[in-house]
Symmetry: C2
Subunit: 255 residues, 2 copies
Amino acid sequence: MNVVLIGAANLATNLAKELIKKKFNIIEIYSRSLKSAQELAAITNAKATNEIETISTNADLYIFSVKDSVLSDLIDKLPHNNAIWLHTAGSIPADVLKNKVDKYGVIYPLQTFSKNKSVDFNNIPIFVEGNNSDIESIIYSFAQKLSSKVYKLSSEKRKYIHLSAVFACNFTNHMYTIANNILEQEGIPFDVLLPLIDETALKVHSISPIDAQTGPAVRYDKNVIEKQLNLIEDTNTKEIYKLISKNIHKINNKK
Amino acid sequence: MNVVLIGAANLATNLAKELIKKKFNIIEIYSRSLKSAQELAAITNAKATNEIETISTNADLYIFSVKDSVLSDLIDKLPHNNAIWLHTAGSIPADVLKNKVDKYGVIYPLQTFSKNKSVDFNNIPIFVEGNNSDIESIIYSFAQKLSSKVYKLSSEKRKYIHLSAVFACNFTNHMYTIANNILEQEGIPFDVLLPLIDETALKVHSISPIDAQTGPAVRYDKNVIEKQLNLIEDTNTKEIYKLISKNIHKINNKK
């Protein structure tokens, strides 16, 4: 199967490496930045381009793995062909592709990717969708070459998975950032928090998050909460502390 | 070394098990709930009591591992003796013990504990403090029997570690709870998020949290953010989403 990849950022890079590992042939990689396209093309033995209009038309699969904000523009500019076109965006419906091609769908790997950090693709849940059941089966089989955890899922449901991922990954990481800033200000290295961060993640493998909840907010221990609020100088951080504490108390006392 | 343990909750339970493993002798365990004291005493070969006034006076070490709100009351009621008294609270200064005994301090293990989930104590950072340098050295040596990561730290600094732990553990866990609730409503099992949760925690072992930040809030992608806000029904959750997104954008564009 010959693949063209539109995009060379975090997800595209990890996807390209995995495709090569699984013996797919990447014939061309597009990026707005020719340098990014060339860097990824070099390790995947592909052609690099920053001109979407002139891209190879003889691939079997075109995968758009770009920022949401540029996706529909790139779809418009890619010359029409008979291949299957896929995108990888959590919050964008499959039918953003429907006016361009007859065979299209989505492949959404639920993971956070960095260019220079490899992940075990086989363990990543991949949610797929196709514009009809035949195409969906093809996309499903394709995704199964990448991961052992492939699920068929509608665009409507995928939005909610993306939303949950924003909380479980992006917002969680911001909690780490705030913790880091508090420690930094006191000259304490962030490393001391790593065993706690790991255990917090590990716990929800065996206990539901609501049952794993600990801390002063569960019983709304006013004494601790007020002392801690006094330690926080930044107004936004104070607001975040207040709002999350209130919500923990509310949700954990409803259960 | 003979130890008396005041408390039988999550931390006390894990501490007691570790002390036994390291050949300490626990002679008595107090809990407000006699049943809890008895359960822990049974597995540590100790006496159980729910009467603080009548507790054994011949131990070398008394460790208070109870909720902040009852700590000073229990300190008041425990009969005076010549042993070292320690507490395990992050946000309470060591000198809450100063009117009762001459030798006192703090042993603060930075971890989240559950009664029925064992943790690798050797890997847990433990912060110690003593009322003078001799006592502090004794407490330091004692803590080194439990963990390879022992640090001397003042009460003043310990407060900030506790605050950072509230963000990195308690608030992070609440992000998991919200993610779980979003998925539950759509009939999607929470398990699909586990590889993402694990990778988010693993990432900050090698990249600083601010550099690990991804998601629509980094560039404040209004289109995605507004679509996601429309998916959230609960008012508090909406507020949390808005506030954290704003703060991610603010902090990540200052770096």
